[in-house]
Amino acid sequence: MARELFRFKGGVHPPDHKAESNARPIHAAPIPRQLVIPVRQHIGNPAKPVVDVGDTVRTGQLIAAADGTISAAVHASSSGTVVAVEPRVLPHASGLPDLCIVIDTDGRDEWVERTPLDYRAMPAADLRMKLRDMGLAGLGGAVFPSAVKLDAGPAQICPLLILNGGECEPWITCDDVLMRHHADDIMRGAAIMRHLLGSTEVLVGIEDNKPEALAAMREAAARLEFAVEVVAVPSVYPGGGAKQMIETLTGRQVPSGKLSTDIGIQVFNVGTAHALARAVLHGEPMIERLVTVTGHVLRPQNFRVRIGTPMQTLIDLAGDREGATGVLMGGPMMGLVMPNSHVPVVKATNCILVQSRELFPAPPAALPCIRCTRCADVCPAELQPQELFRFAKAGDFGRAQEYHLFDCIECGCCTYVCPSHIPLVAYYRYGKSEIWAREREKRAADLARERHEFRQFRLEREKVEKAAKLAAKAAAARAQAAQDQARRVAPATDAPATATPDAAAGGTGEADAKKAIIAAALARAQAKKAQSAPKNTGQLSPEQQRAIDEIEARRAKIRELARKPLESETENP
């Protein structure tokens, strides 16, 4: 088929190491004696446990329910007894424990009743809810809840559905063998996706280093009643990234900060399509997946594994060898270093890569960046990794964000080509987590500041209210005083005119006359005072007046205090 393909920018060609594990048939791993099943295996809210210690559970029974829209339920991978609901160390980069449901299996593997769904007859929303409750999450690596991705949004239609069989990461072959041996189930899953998304075109992108998978998928596509085009795409890492697959097949780029559905495209991993078919057509929740066990083991191969199986069990099955130096979950480019080999397989575990000194020699010490820009040449996000590194290292996270740090997909191409052997992706992860931490801190600080500001405002308001009350009181008192004085002074003001004749009249009102003279003097003094008083105090507001009064009162008090000791001294020599 001569479909025009497009070359995304960047990418590298690391040795693919697929042949080690893809030739052997899929082997069903035995159910281990104990399963450790984390409640957080997907992106979004962790599931909420619905079982208690001591409960007996059956295979496929719900043990933790989805919490909110972006979440996925968790099920018992086999029948047995819940022996613990507690934090355990998980396959996560942090190595931090998270809540797990631990089941001692009974070896009988008794299923709950499985009811296939007639997806064509169900309302789409109900079906999606059902899928969420069956724990469907993307098996390509990001483990995003599938039910959310199967919602085409307000448009109700997503014209192009892409099944991603790229599997570009070296060493991993679980999608390869799945396509070889279960192509029909994958296509059935595609039919359900197509139904939910209203897609009119279905493409399957498979890297051309998997000819057997391509052939099997083409055969399966030919048996379908709708058109599915299986396209061989060039093997370039990270050609299996969703955005890269979209560009390779359509020549279009997902706008920065948007979703592929915004341009009418949705991408699912082939493993997710298979799991969807098992869930809908067979009523099986997501309790198992294919896992490649490869690297430093005797018989690298793919296992069908129940979620919660310890990784070491699988390594033993594949033939443990002396000289292992560590375990990666995923491939060498994007994989995570496991805290130990006993952490459980989760929905995201596509590969267990056992490292040895021969296969993965310790990288030489990092040298300074020489700005050769080989990283920029291979960056599929078309970033300037050397600048991001410089900013992240210098702690200049603002600039790092300006240079689109969050568009980095952490594919590791830059680290792969860096001649100075700088662990670039580690710096970007560090930068991102620092920015997240600072944003959290900033939010907390904002909250604290708002609280503080409100407190200040409240205190101010109370002060004003109090002041207003005091002012009212003072004004009332002054009004009273003024009234009193007015009553006293009123006769005195016109006294000079009348007093002299009175005095001249003699005798009768000597005391009155004296009083009148004093009053007149007071009046003159007052008039004089008024004249010499500062001009700008003429029109005092009640508040200013109150402030002045307060000050005067304080001064008076101080004067009084200053005089007192003297008095006491004189009194008590």
């Binding site: 060498p332 270093v337 040449d377 590791g412 662990p423």
Partner: protein, 344 residues
Amino acid sequence: MTDTSAPGRDSVTRIMAWVLGALVPGIAAHVWLFGPAILITLALATVTAVAAEAAMLRARGYPLRPFLFDLSAVVTAWLLALSLPPLAPWWLIVTGVLAAIVVAKHLYGGLGQNIFNPAMVGYAVLIVSFPAQMTQWAGPLELTGTSLTLNESATLIFGGELPRARLDAVTMATPLDTLRTGLLQQLTVDETLRQPIFGTLGGVGFEWLAVAFWVGGLILWARRIIGWQVPMAFLAGIVLAAGLLHFADAGRYGSPLFHFFAPSVALAAFFIATDPVSGATTPRGKLIFGFGAGVLTIVIRTWGGFPDGVAFAILLMNLAVPLIDQTTQPRIYGETRTGREPRA
């Protein structure tokens, strides 16, 4: 670190080794055309550079092993040595290398931190300080008919005396100098070019040295050690600027072909302007950097007071790198120049 992305096989040492290897054709041509003196210059420069590098690493408290073996100091030494007159006295070479390694490289923070091209800083220091010694080139064997033996060269370089006649027999002005002198003497370019030092493409002998540098440069490009942007833009800048001048007044300005086949231009285009540390990093930035350096080289050659303009052109463009990089940030995946919309 949780990062597992495996580093590949590339290394700074490998890159530097390829650069050194690509210089070998040029060195061979040098020996063939001008005699074995360059080998002494190269050896002296290398020893000085490695010693200075080790001393500076020790002084700055850095481990010797990874940094000495990255070969970057040797590359600097060779590039400077190849820019100097082959019969330059030992102290000139040592001074230049020390200026390059100690000042331009380590005082600016060492590998990856220097904003100026160390070899060009060394060259600039020398040409400003010792202009006389910097112009005394050995003439091409083809014209002089004789060249100094290794012994004679060593004697001359390390301060010994040679008979005046012997010295005069082997040294002569470079074609670029001859052209400048000719212009000062009011000769036209045509008249100057009739002098024996000029051959079919450029200077006799010098043109073959240029070809040898071209060969090395193309090897580096084929091996993806260098990109095409800087050399092509640099050469474009040279040809365009020289071509415009030549077109305006062919009597006064040499043809672009003459500049194109000058060894200094070839060395600069493929080995010096391509220094990643002090150069621009964005694709468009590399074009601007190379083009600017090319144009400035011609401008300085034409109107400047020094016999060659490459070093100052590169240093001036080094200064502009932060601005160039900042203003030429490329579009990222999923973004257009006008906004965040899909391509296609």
